[in-house]
C-alpha cells in the first residue's frame, strides 16, 4: 500500500472530526426546508419559529444518525479484524436477521410499536448467542465456523421474515418493510438516550481490546504466545460488536454499507492499528451517516428516502471504485 502501512492517523482523526462537524451542520440546515444559520439563531416571528421547529425535528435525527453510524462502523471494523476478513460487515453474523425477525414477530403479535426496539434487540441478542454456540468447537470459538453459522442464521431469518410478511396485514407489512430498509424518521432524544449506553458500552469494550485485536489480527497462535487470553478476547470482541450492531439496528433498522465501507476507507488512509482505526472509524461513520441522512431528506423533498437506500446507492459504486483502485 501507499505511504507505509502506518498511514497518517492523526491527520485522519482531525479530518474525520472536521467531516463530522460539517455533516452535523449540513444535517440541521439541509432538507426539504432549507434553513440558514442567521434565521436559526436570531430569526423572529413566524419564520424564526418555523426554523426552530425544523431544527428541533432534525437535531435528534442528526444525533441518532451519528450514534448509529459510529456504532455500525465500530462493529464493522471489529468484525474485519476478528475474522481477518476485509469484507466482513456487522451483519455477517446474523444480528441483522435476528433484529428484523424480532421486530417483525413483535409487530405481528400486536406488541406496541414503542417496544419495537427492545424486540429487535432481543432478536439480535438471541441470534448472536445461537451463532456463537454453533461455532464452538472443543471449547473454543472457531472463527471459520462463526462465519458459516452467521450465514446460516441470516438465511434462516430471511426465510422467517418472508413467512411473517406473507401472513401480516398489508399495513403491518408496509411498516416493517420501511423499517427494514433503515429509517431515522421518528428519531427522538428519547431514542438517542436509550441507544447511548449500549453504544458506549460496546465501544468501550472494543477500545479496551484494541491492542489485543492487533495481536489477534496477526494470528491467534502468535497472539496466544504473547500472553493474550485469546478465547476471552474473541468472546468479548464478538459480544461488543454484536451489542453495537443489535442496538443500532433496533433503533434505526438495517442500514447497509456503513459497517463495510468506513473501516475499509479509514484503513486505506490511516493504517490498520486498531488503537487508531477504531476511534477514527467511529467518527467517520458518524459523519457519513449524518451526511446520508441529510441527503435522504434533501434529494426528493418533500419525500424522504429510506436511509438504507441512500447508503446502498452511494456506497456500492464507492466501494467498487475503492476495490478497483487497490493494487
Amino acid at each position: 500500500m501507499t505511504s507505509g502501512a502506518a498511514g497518517r492517523p492523526r491527520l485522519a482523526l482531525a479530518g474525520a472530526l472536521g467531516l463530522l462537524a460539517g455533516a452535523g451542520l449540513l444535517g440541521i440546515l439541509v432538507g426539504g426546508v432549507h434553513l440558514s444559520l442567521p434565521a436559526l439563531w436570531s430569526g423572529a416571528g413566524a419564520e424564526g419559529e418555523a426554523a426552530r421547529l425544523v431544527a428541533s425535528i432534525r437535531l435528534p435525527r442528526v444525533a441518532l444518525a451519528a450514534l448509529v453510524g459510529a456504532a455500525l462502523s465500530l462493529s464493522g471494523a471489529a468484525m474485519q479484524a476478528l475474522l481477518k476478513n476485509p469484507l466482513a460487515d456487522p451483519f455477517l453474523l446474523g444480528t441483522s436477521g435476528g433484529a428484523a425477525a424480532g421486530a417483525a414477530l413483535a409487530s405481528l403479535a400486536g406488541i406496541s410499536p414503542l417496544l419495537s426496539p427492545a424486540a429487535a434487540f432481543a432478536g439480535a441478542a438471541a441470534s448472536s448467542v445461537a451463532v456463537a454456540a454453533l461455532a464452538r468447537r472443543g471449547g473454543r470459538l472457531d472463527l471459520q465456523r462463526l462465519l458459516l453459522s452467521g450465514l446460516i442464521a441470516n438465511a434462516f431469518f430471511s426465510a422467517l421474515l418472508l413467512g411473517v410478511f406473507s401472513v401480516a396485514s398489508a399495513s403491518a407489512a408496509r411498516t416493517m418493510l420501511f423499517w427494514m430498509m433503515g429509517s431515522l424518521a421518528d428519531a427522538s432524544f428519547g431514542k438517542v438516550v436509550a441507544l447511548l449506553p449500549w453504544a458506549a458500552a460496546g465501544a468501550a469494550v472494543l477500545l479496551l481490546y484494541a491492542a489485543r485485536l492487533n495481536l489477534l489480527a496477526v494470528g491467534e497462535d502468535s497472539a496466544a504466545a504473547l500472553g493474550v487470553d485469546t478465547e476471552r478476547a474473541k468472546r468479548q470482541v464478538f459480544v461488543a460488536a454484536s451489542l453495537l450492531t443489535g442496538a443500532a439496528v433496533a433503533f434505526a433498522g438495517i442500514i447497509g454499507f456503513v459497517g463495510l465501507l468506513v473501516p475499509h476507507a479509514v484503513r486505506a488512509v490511516a493504517g490498520n492499528d486498531q488503537r487508531r482505526l477504531l476511534p477514527i472509524c467511529a467518527v467517520s461513520g458518524a459523519a457519513l451517516l449524518v451526511a446520508a441522512d441529510a441527503l435522504s431528506r434533501a434529494v426528493f423533498a418533500p419525500a424522504e428516502l429510506p436511509i438504507g437506500a441512500v447508503t446502498a446507492t452511494v456506497g456500492a459504486p464507492l466501494f467498487a471504485w475503492m476495490l478497483l483502485r487497490e493494487p
Binding site: M1, G4, A5, A6, A81, K84, N85, P86, G138, L208, A210, A211, R212, N214, L215, A217, V218, G219, D221, S222, A224, A225, L226, G227, V228, D229, R267, G271, N272, D273, R275
Partner: protein, 269 residues
Amino acid sequence: MSPDASSGTPRIETRGLRALYGRTEALSGLDARIPAGEIVAILGENGSGKSTLLKVLARIRPPSGGEILLDGAPLLSQPRRETARRVAYVPQSVELVFPIRALDLVLQGRAPHARGFSADSPEDRARALDAMKACDVLDLAERDASALSGGETRRVFLARAVAQEAEIWLLDEPTAGLDPRHRLEFLDVLRRRHLESRRTVLLVTHEVDLAARIADGVLLLRRGRTLASGPPDAVLTVDNLRRAFDVEFREGPAGLQAAALPDRPPVVR
C-alpha cells in the same frame, strides 16, 4: 536473567505430557528435559507431535495430561503474560491479511511487557529497532510486512522474538520453504543471537542435516513420545532414524540423508 545452567534443573521439563490435536492424541506421554542455554532440535515425522509440543509449551494449546515445568515450576500455574515474558514463539507460517508496518509487527513483541498489551513507549521503540538491527531487518522497518518475502518475514518474526526479551525461543520449522540463501541468512542470525545471550532454543524441523549441524541436543519424537534424546551423534543413528521416519538413512557428502524406503532397493550414489 541468566538461566540455571550449572545445577541439575533443566530449563524445561515435561513428564508424561499428553495433548490433543483436534480429536487425535498428538502427544501421548512425552518425557523430555531441555537443559538451559542449548539449541535443541526437535525432530520427527509429520504427525509425531513436534508442532503440538511447541504449541503446548508456548501455551497456545492446553495439554490434556501430564506436567510441564519451567525452571522447576509448573508452567500452567503462571499467569500467561508471565510465561510470555520468558518464552517466545515463532510460528511456521503466518497469513498477514491486512497491511502492517514491519516495525509495528516487531513492536508487538513488546506486548507482554506493556500495559494493556499496548507497546508504545520510546523505550519499546528503541528495543524493537535494536532487535530489527540484530536480525538484519532494520532496513525493512517502514515496509509493509504483508508484502515481504518469506525469508524476510521469518527474520522479522525473529526480531519480534528478540524484542520480546524472552530467554527461551520456540521456533516452528523456521527454515521450511526458504531458498538456500535465505536459509543460511536465517541460521546465521539465529546462531549469532544465541551465542550472544545463551538463550535456550527449541527448533522444530524435519531436516536431519540441519539438526546435525546446528543443534547442541536433539529430541527425536515418534508418535507423540520421545524416541531418543541427547547429543546429535548419539541420537542421530541410522537405527533411530529408521524407527522415527520409516526410511533408511545413509551417510552422504552432506551428512545423513534419507536414502531409500525400506522395501525398495537402496539408491546407489
